[in-house]
Symmetry: C2
Subunit: 202 residues, 2 copies
């Protein structure tokens, strides 16, 4: 059975925010084209500095050309071991300069993150799961996917339906059994001088 791990929240949040998590067990079932379109439509409507929309996505769908295999070849060995079973692999890419004037965009990576988070919430809405990874080779991704100089590979993203992990070695599958953890809110939200908790949190 796929593992569900709703976040142990201290304060109420939207069910999709609570349900979103990053499993290693994906089902081999393909993702329907209309669901792929909705995922990237959600990314498309994220907010960005000066509405630059610096996000780009190279999408590999298993069985459609060799983009999936080329993205898979950029993953670290431990990630490739489980990600190979998922139906969709993506490389997110940041455009580093503003299109309107060529100036450096300080928020390029930040805004790619916003688009990716929007995609992950939409995936939850559609019964899909998303697992983003830092563990890939950006230089190899650039070569394999023809990513131009003014753009930078950011993350590798695995997308698919939740799986039961039966295709994975037990030590890999067991990664999905760990408890979800976050810093206490008092470590991330400050009210006045740095690290001073806000009055409304007490």
């Amino acid at each position: 059975m796929p593992v569900d791990k709703p976040a142990p929240v201290d304060h109420p949040v939207h069910p999709h925010i609570r349900a979103r998590w990053s499993p290693v067990a994906f089902d081999v079932r393909p993702v329907e084209p209309e669901k792929l379109r909705s995922l990237f439509e959600a990314a498309r409507w994220a907010s960005s500095s000066f509405n630059e929309q610096p996000w780009r996505f190279v999408v590999g769908v298993k069985g459609q050309g060799d983009t999936f295999e080329r993205i898979l070849s950029t993953l670290g060995e431990a990630n490739a071991a489980w990600a190979q079973h998922a139906p969709v692999l993506v490389i997110s890419v940041a455009k580093l300069s503003f299109t309107r004037n060529g100036n450096s965009n300080r928020h390029a990576w930040h805004d790619v993150g916003q688009a990716a988070a929007s995609l992950a919430i939409q995936a939850t809405e559609l019964g899909l799961r998303v697992h983003q990874m830092a563990g890939f080779n950006p230089a190899k991704a650039r070569t394999e996917l023809g990513i131009p100089d003014d753009y930078e590979p950011v993350t590798a993203i695995v997308i698919g339906y939740p799986g039961d992990g039966s295709l994975l070695p037990e030590t890999t599958r067991a990664r999905d059994d760990g408890a979800r953890q976050r810093r206490p809110m008092a470590q991330i939200v400050f009210g006045g001088t740095w690290e001073q908790p806000p009055a409304w949190l007490a």
Copy 2:
């Protein structure tokens, strides 16, 4: 009347993703403490590289100490003109190194963006609006808020209930009347070599 501007989507997305946008007209009504807690709880459960959670938020609530005014003083003049009427101002901050080993975190800004997007979706759920801005003075924010060296101010975030703009000059208020626009999906999602559309988008 507050302006609603659901995104003119080409493919279905979750109502909160469609409804989220960045107005300049905010109501003076305070944000309830329990809603503030839910906003940052949503940010807290975003995904991050190695679960570092590099996001920090300095939150200024109007009428609680002088943090609101200190954040306001870092905004560009045009932004301060409308943001001053909102009840909550925030500076998002990225921790640039991994806590576990001190190494540089390539995804610090990206992951702050993910947390901010999660907060914005939660705000929509609660009837609030969020407007993030690049237009503030990061060096001044560092001084005013005591942000340490290993951390970097990322965005200024305005939070509040939607307003009717009656407190704003007409030229400012009119910014909320513009149409929402994004690049066509074929400009941001590629299927094989760079800028080649994926088969499932045709």
